[in-house]
């Protein structure tokens, strides 16, 4: 039985991990490797030229730095706003709360593509083109995040907070010492989601930046000219480099997520 379980788990993880392994493998492919028949799984040699070219032909290091700064900053601010808003919508009672919540949720119906030109106009008027703030500011409000956090917070008994407040605990302290640790799984998951969402964005950062020094890595990737020249090598090398930090983040974060998910299931 154990064996069957293990093989099923291995099979599924192989499916998930295959693209990652293939990307790393393909980053060492030569031009001919990409077009050989039958298709290759492993490179014919340890070919490093793709990495050299990825760095030599663009300011990849600079693009990577820009992406990390905007994604980290954007993620922290977005999570801060979402947690604060979800907390207020869950635990506070004030006039117009439900209407306000409904308005926030209704913005989910607006596709971001429809807003892109209006947003551009705003950012430009504010003089935020070619700044990190310009790149992240339209990403800061996420109704989905607020909604999910609120649903999660609602599963908590309100008496916890009342008891804490009677003991003289402030809202800020209640959030940091009690609420967030309990909601670790959802907060971390949404955090990672925010990070990769901002990190992976292409059109918006392209729109609000003109200086090469402000470009993010997704824009930098297209500079390698893969689609026009069918030159996949440097592209794969750059993607492989991009994956490393995200994969590490997942490895570090996966045990808190797993623990809290399984403990919640076990508790029920």
């Amino acid at each position: 039985m154990r064996f069957i379980k293990a093989s099923i788990a291995t099979l599924f993880s192989l499916v998930v991990i295959f693209p990652i392994i293939y990307t790393i493998s393909a980053s060492f492919f030569t031009y001919a490797d990409f077009t050989s028949i039958p298709a290759k799984l492993l490179p014919s040699s340890f070919y490093l030229e793709n990495y050299v070219r990825a760095f030599a032909e663009t300011s990849l290091a600079r693009f990577l730095a820009n992406s990390f700064v905007t994604a980290t900053l954007g993620m922290l601010l977005r999570m801060g706003i979402s947690i604060g808003a979800a907390y207020a919508f869950t635990f506070f009672t004030f006039k117009g709360r439900d209407v306000l919540f409904f308005v926030v949720i209704a913005t989910m119906l607006l596709p971001s593509d429809a807003l892109i030109l209006a947003n551009y106009s705003t950012i430009r008027t504010l003089g935020l083109t070619d700044t990190y703030l310009g790149i992240i500011s339209t990403k800061l409000l996420s109704p989905t995040h607020i909604f999910m956090l609120r649903q999660y917070f609602k599963t908590m008994s309100r008496e916890y907070r009342e008891a804490a407040l009677i003991e003289g605990c402030s809202d800020a302290r209640f959030i940091t010492t009690l609420l967030l640790p309990i909601s670790k799984a959802v907060v971390i998951t949404l955090g990672i989601h925010s990070f990769s969402n901002i990190f992976n964005d292409y059109l918006w950062p392209l729109l609000v930046t003109n200086k090469e020094g402000m470009r993010t890595v997704q824009v930098g990737l297209t500079m390698l000219g893969f689609s026009e020249n069918l030159d996949y090598g440097p592209q794969f090398a750059a993607i492989a480099l991009l994956m490393i930090p995200i994969v590490i983040a997942f490895i570090i974060m996966h045990s808190p997520i797993q623990n809290s998910v399984s403990s919640r299931f076990a508790g029920r």
Partner: protein
């Protein structure tokens, strides 16, 4: 919480440092700085950088003009970004020059900030006939050249010469009927009867149909208003003039040979790997396809096969052009200096060698270096001779809903082949669908 704050602070500090790095040096006094948005990535990106560098060091230095080339993503991204600026009404943010492909014409041609390139050329007394007529007409709207052709290409037949030799085929096909015969001879099967090599792979879309419909009877228009070059198209003509039915009939015969694969993506890859023996692709892919194939087999190129013997129009010029904008900086003349430089015979020669786009300036073709180059690279000679023999009036289509029309052609033809529909009903259905897009657009424009 403290740790979070510390982290935030750290990020902010790092941001400060990076901001400083992102700043540019202030431009020198008296120097006009031009911004040129382009979509050249990879090889083309490098070639663009070297044109700009040479300009800045020579003519630009002399005339106090410095060009700043900015890569703005794919062709469509350059358009999106320009449209965003136009809609926000802040024409000051427009670049002085921008490179667009044919799909942008509809959105850009009537913009008040656009400075038609012909106006700039005339102010300078520049003779437009120095440019290849086909290239010039490819950016001519209502009889005015609105942009400068820059990265121009045509469509070409690529074939696996090694496979041709093995099958004993001496000359590449010139018509669709011949293509069918040759393709049949090139098919290879394994012991189980599965096809391991197709003769030809293609599902026609706008790109191919501009040629296959347009070349019939010397010159046929696909839509009214001369394919949209004289104004908005109001209806398609391919149903009335019978070109679509004629093409589809021949295409159905070709498909019936069983040697054609209905491949819609990575056709070049299939060719390079040897799975398909013939494809049609842009001349700008010459360099790429050669390096993809490596020494797997010998590549041959030939004229794009004609629909039939009566289809004598040849091929059209595709690719992109440089547009000039008035961003209230008064850089129009400076912009023209650069455009003139970038399309000069010498620069167009370098550009051709680096990318495979063909030179748009007549004088490039008589340069000794160019003659020597096509002597040594007969493939380029084929591409260029094909263009020279073509009817320059044969032009691409400027239509709304270009994306939908592209897929309408593709899926319409696939449906005909798979469900065995007649060419007549397919042509009728396509005309109806595309006319619907035109009507919708005209209604939105209030015409």
């Amino acid at each position: 919480m403290k740790r979070l704050l510390a982290l935030l602070l750290l990020v902010m500090l790092a941001t400060q440092g990076l901001f400083a790095l992102g700043q540019e040096e202030a431009p020198e006094a008296g120097v006009s700085t031009l911004t040129w948005w382009h979509y050249g990535s990879g090889l083309a990106g490098k070639a663009i950088d070297s044109i700009v560098q040479e300009f800045n060091e020579t003519v630009g230095k002399e005339k106090n003009i410095q060009v700043n080339a900015v890569f703005q993503g794919k062709a469509n991204d350059v358009l999106t970004k320009t449209k965003a600026i136009l809609q926000s009404g802040s024409t000051k943010d427009l670049p002085d020059l921008a490179q667009f492909d044919g799909s942008a014409v509809l959105d850009i041609r009537d913009v008040p900030s656009l400075i038609p390139m012909e106006d700039l050329a005339k102010q300078d007394g520049y003779d437009l006939t120095q440019l290849l007529e086909a290239a010039r007409l490819s950016v001519t709207y209502k009889n005015k050249m609105i942009a400068m052709p820059f990265n121009s290409s045509t469509i070409l037949l690529y074939y696996n010469k090694t496979a041709f030799d093995e099958a004993g085929i001496a000359t590449p096909p010139t018509t669709l009927a011949e293509l069918g015969n040759v393709a049949k001879a090139l098919v290879q099967k394994d012991e189980k009867g599965n096809i391991t090599r197709y003769g030809f792979a293609n599902v026609p879309t706008t790109y191919e149909l501009i040629v296959w419909l347009g070349q019939q009877n010397g010159l046929s228009y696909i839509t009214d208003n001369e394919n949209g070059h004289l104004g908005n198209p109001t209806k398609v003509l391919f149903d009335e003039n019978g070109t679509m039915v004629n093409f589809l009939t021949r295409w159905k015969d070709l498909y019936a040979t069983g040697a054609v694969e209905n491949l819609t993506s990575d056709v070049n890859g299939a060719f390079a790997s040897g799975r398909v023996a013939m494809i049609v692709a842009s001349t700008s892919k010459l360099t790429t396809i050669h390096s993809m194939v490596a020494d797997r087999f010998e590549v041959g190129v030939a004229n794009f096969p004609a629909v039939d013997e009566q289809a004598t129009g040849g091929v059209n010029v595709g690719g992109g052009a440089i547009y000039a904008f008035d961003n209230q900086s008064g850089n129009g003349d400076a912009a023209w200096e650069f455009v003139k430089f970038a399309t000069s015979p010498e620069q167009q020669f370098n550009w051709h060698i680096a990318t495979g786009y063909f030179p748009v300036h007549h004088d490039t073709y008589s340069m000794d270096a160019f003659q020597k180059h096509i002597e040594e690279n007969p493939h380029y000679r084929v591409a260029i001779e094909q263009l020279m023999e073509s009817n320059p009036k044969m032009q691409g289509i400027w239509v709304p809903s270009a994306y939908q029309i592209y897929y309408a052609f593709q899926s319409g033809i696939l449906r005909m082949l798979e469900d065995d529909l007649s060419p007549e009903e397919t042509s009728k259905a396509l005309a109806q669908e595309i006319n619907g897009y035109f009507e919708e657009y005209l209604r939105m424009q209030g015409e």
